[in-house]
Amino acid sequence: MSCEDVQERLTEAFLARQAPVPEDAAHAAGCAACGSLVRELRSVAEHLAVVLVPDLRPAARAACEARALHVLRAQRAAHAPAPLRGLGRDLARATLLGLLALPIAVGHAWLVAWVGSAVLSPWLPGPILGWLGILYFAPVVLGLGVLYGAIPLAVVAGRRQPLEES
């Protein structure tokens, strides 16, 4: 155990505000150089112990909080997208996309109705054919309604995701 190592550890212990390990303390007790260092470090510690700082005044603490909150709110306002900015454009784009499905759905319904009535009319009376038509067209109309009703929801969901990520 060299004096250099002991002095290194004594200084580390002082900086960590801990007592020296017993081995180093024992060494310092019998070594003039290390003992002198211990006394000097004790003297420095005594002086550092009286560097008192007044408590932060409640008004100053409140000012810290208020100014920090002010910056936070300003940042939030700057980063939040205007809620309606671009919403009309997004809705129009989604509606156009939805309209593409309209001729397909109507064409399909017409084809089924035409073929169905052509095939089934020799065997089924008119009222029953009518009811079958209603049973078929009702889900088609409902499906289209759901499709167009979902457009605003899809737009809102699409706009919400980037907001949550920001």
Partner: protein, 175 residues
């Protein structure tokens, strides 16, 4: 209870409650650090306010793998450093000596010792004082100080030892 790092992440998302909690936890220790660093408790209040504002402005850049304390204290150190530079630019040679600490209401004898030490602490070069305060009063480890001050760990060690040596000399001990 949420950790400081979790609260800071929440602040980055704009959470006001998280910010209030962080200020409640750290306003006093941060102020104490700044007061010892700049030597003036009332100036430290200004520095603390500026530090908290800068902490919030930098919230998005906070890396949750780092400790909040070393990150925030690093920001506060930079705020104080900027202030010292402005003081020097206006013609002051040193960081302002403490003047308000004597108002802490302690016995006269301790006041005298404190005045003496304020001088000795203020005599330390700024970079040594920062390292010493972070290690001795704030209890930060060398890696944390390195992170806070943006310097190498070896440099922290060297600054700490130089600061201790300077204080020992200043108090009439070290040869």
């Amino acid at each position: 209870m949420e950790s400081d790092e979790e609260l800071m992440q929440a602040v980055a998302r704009g959470d006001e409650m998280a910010l209030r909690a962080l200020v409640a936890r750290h306003a006093s220790p941060l102020h104490a650090y700044l007061a010892r660093l700049c030597g003036d408790a009332s100036e430290a209040e200004d520095l603390a306010q500026e530090s908290w504002m800068r902490i919030v402005r930098s919230a998005a850049a906070f890396d949750a793998s780092r400790r909040f304390r070393s990150w925030a204290w690093g920001i506060a150190t930079n705020v104080a450093r900027d202030r010292f530079r402005r003081v020097r630019a206006r013609g002051g040679l040193h960081a302002p000596l403490p003047t308000n600490l004597a108002d802490a209401g302690t016995p006269e004898g301790r006041s005298i010792a404190r005045v003496d030490l304020r001088g000795r602490l203020a005599e330390l070069p700024e970079r040594l004082r920062q390292a010493l305060l972070l290690r001795y009063y704030e209890g930060m480890s060398e890696p944390e100080i390195a992170e806070a001050l943006g310097i190498a760990r070896g440099t922290v060690k060297s600054r700490l030892h130089t600061a201790v040596m300077a204080l020992r000399r200043s108090l009439g001990g070290a040869s």
